[in-house]
């Protein structure tokens, strides 16, 4: 059967003070179904107090008719026009009465800011200070928890610490191996091109060794670990926040910092220097491969590299890796602990963890370099 296209007609009968909305056709195909704004102007012009429906010629209909009717009904109600649903099909009348049974909620919404709105500097400064205060408070909490740990009164479980050590140590070997060999080779090529111009190709060994021990070894390891472990910490703690596990820890009378954060930080502090040493060794091997390609023998390379190694270089590298470990772990745990309680919040926490960790790393690395430059070490 072929039904005519959907449509409506509004007739006003001044004598009986009523208007009749006649609906006809098939209200199925979205393209041909009228929208509420088509009837709005006519309803606005109504001068009567009652609205009736006439559906004698109405064909098939779907939700589209219902949303049209609801819009009409609520618009009429706003304008003080009484709506009589008697003329509607049985089902439509029932659905409409369910839909209108609860009055619509009025939200007191702040007016949305236009896109060109600029925040006042004082507001931005206050937010920055707030953020700083929260970070300091978190750092303070960690110091208190560490104090409790040293006093032997902390609720930190050794089993947790061991698990996190495994996750941040042996589990990371594969990716650290790959990155450090490649970084060693990159340093090797970098030096080879420049130094061979002066016939000083042998000093590639010095460049690779010192560059790795002091700078690239700790930094590359830290960047990989920030992406790998820092983000994981944030996601774990954020999910625990979302599923109220952190609330449960707190109401058990246990400090979540002692129970959740301290083992993570300590684990990273223990594994990062070890990973850095491992990365340094592999990086030097990577540089050796490049040197071999330049015609420097293995013996020459290793004796030259060995001569370049000094306690100061190793010490500074390890010191950096310790600092980086603390920064990555704090950034990750802080983001996780302060994450929003839903999936979007956990995602934001993981992003924030990595971004803040990287900023911390670069700033700390630069500061340490400047410091030791002035100290002459």
């Amino acid at each position: 059967m072929n039904q005519p296209a959907a449509g409506f007609e509004l007739d006003t009968d001044k004598a009986s003070n009523t208007a009749t909305l006649r609906l006809y056709g098939s209200w199925v195909d979205a393209a041909s179904v009228p929208e509420f704004r088509d009837v709005r102007a006519q309803l606005t012009a109504l001068t009567v107090d009652n609205l009736h429906f006439d559906c004698d010629e109405l064909g098939d209909w779907t939700t589209l008719l219902m949303s049209f009717l609801l819009s009409c009904a609520s618009y009429c109600e706003e304008r003080g026009v009484a709506v009589d649903t008697e003329g509607l099909p049985e089902n439509a009348r029932r659905l409409l009465s369910i839909a209108t049974s609860v009055p619509a909620h009025q939200r007191q919404q702040p007016a949305p800011q236009p896109w060109w709105h600029v925040r006042s500097p004082s507001e931005a400064l206050r937010e920055l200070l707030d953020d700083l205060r929260v970070s300091l408070a978190f750092f303070g909490d960690i110091c208190i928890a560490l104090g409790a740990l040293i006093a032997g009164k902390a609720n930190t479980r050794f089993a947790d610490f061991r698990t996190f050590c495994y996750q941040s140590g042996p589990d990371a070997f594969a990716i650290i191996s790959l990155t450090s060999v490649l970084v060693g080779m990159i340093l090797g090529y970098l030096g080879a091109v420049q130094l061979q111009q002066f016939g000083a190709g042998i000093y590639v060994a010095d460049l690779v060794t010192i560059g790795l021990l002091r700078e690239m070894g700790p930094l590359m390891t830290a960047i990989v670990m920030a992406g790998r472990t820092g983000a994981a910490y944030a996601a774990q703690l954020g999910t625990m926040q979302a599923s109220e596990e952190i609330d449960a820890v707190r109401t058990l009378g246990v400090s979540p910092i002692e129970f959740l954060v301290i083992p993570r930080i300590l684990a990273l502090v223990v594994t990062m220097p070890l990973l850095t040493i491992y990365a340094n060794l592999l990086g030097i091997v990577g540089g050796g491969i490049v040197a071999g390609g330049m015609g420097i023998s293995l013996l020459q390379y290793s004796s030259q590299a060995g001569a370049a190694v000094s306690i100061a270089h190793i010490g500074i590298g390890l010191l950096k890796s310790l600092v980086f470990a603390v920064l990555i772990a704090i950034a990750g745990c802080r983001s996780g602990m302060q994450s929003g309680r839903n999936s979007a919040g956990v995602g934001r926490a993981a992003t924030e963890a990595v971004v803040t960790a990287l900023v911390y790393l670069i700033v700390a690395d630069a500061s340490i370099n400047i410091l030791f430059q002035h100290l002459g070490i």
């Binding site: 979205a30 393209a31 179904v33 929208e35 509420f36 704004r37 779907t62 939700t63 589209l64 219902m66 949303s67 049209f68 609801l70 819009s71 089902n91 029932r94 659905l95 369910i98 839909a99 209108t100 049974s101 609860v102 009055p103 619509a104 909620h105 009025q106 939200r107 919404q109 929003g340 309680r341 839903n342 999936s343 979007a344 919040g345």
Partner: protein, 258 residues
């Protein structure tokens, strides 16, 4: 109306559900008729939710098949499955609303994906669906800004966005107070009557079961198969299995009356 005259909407045939070699339930066979409010019930751990997941295609049966209006869902290709799923509405145990979207965006998502409605039509339809569940005016709220009961109702609004023929509910009233849960039951009853949908529901809330269900299956955890099928009010009085009668009358230990 006798069962022979009613149209079978969903049919479960010889279904065996298993995780590896661990059989959860075996030899489940039952029809669900069009317009039924069908409850899957049973004690904790008997596989109620697992059965629902099999019906939804989130898990694959170890044996047997599930048919919708006579077409096998189990043996259908993934495109055919998606087409069948389009006529379903599903609400999950904790709502399953997207937390990063407002209620309006949540409800309009299926409309944007699967209909050719204009933007204005979508907005009106979303408003209508939210009004149906009593959430008119909450369009710009995020799921985290409203209560648990409202979340469940919003999830229902999303489930009925495309006027489904089958509505699946996983524990709709879990975690709700008795009054909210009663209101939700009423809403489910009114809505399904008006839009003529078949409802499949997992629940063990007895008041809900007796208030709205007209057909049910009872899964037994110890024998690992179904031991009751039919109207729960009938089962309560006349089931041959003592366990089923005890479940439906909240009697204490099994074997006490049997």
């Amino acid at each position: 109306m006798t069962d022979d005259e009613r149209e079978v909407h969903i049919e479960v045939r010889e279904l065996t559900m298993a995780f590896g070699s661990n059989v959860i339930q075996r030899d489940l066979s039952f029809p669900v008729y069009r317009g039924d409010i069908f409850v899957i019930m049973g004690g904790s751990g008997c596989g109620k939710s697992t059965l629902l997941k099999h019906m939804l295609g989130l898990l694959e049966p170890a044996a047997g098949e599930i048919l919708y209006t006579g077409t096998s869902f189990t043996h259908a290709s993934s495109e055919e499955r998606d087409a069948m799923r389009r006529s379903w509405g599903i609400t999950y145990q904790s709502g399953g609303l997207f937390s990063a979207m407002t209620l309006e965006q949540n409800v309009s998502l299926p409309l944007q994906l699967y209909t050719d409605y204009t933007a204005a039509q979508i907005r009106d339809v979303v408003r209508y669906k939210l009004s149906l569940v009593g959430l008119g005016g909450f369009e710009s709220y995020y799921p985290s800004e409203i209560s648990g009961g409202m979340n469940k109702r919003a999830a229902l609004a999303r489930a009925i966005a495309l006027d489904p023929q089958i509505l699946f509910f996983d524990e709709p009233s879990a975690g709700l107070d008795p009054i909210s849960s009663r209101l939700l039951d009423d809403l489910i009853l009114q809505l399904t009557e008006s839009i003529g949908a078949t409802v499949v529901m997992v629940t063990h809330e007895l008041p809900s079961i007796f208030a709205i269900a007209n057909n049910s299956v009872y899964l037994d955890a110890s024998t690992r198969t179904m031991i009751g099928y039919g109207d729960p009010k009938q089962l309560r009085e006349h089931s041959e299995e003592a366990v089923v009668r005890q479940f439906l009358t909240r009697s204490a230990a099994a074997g006490e009356t049997g």
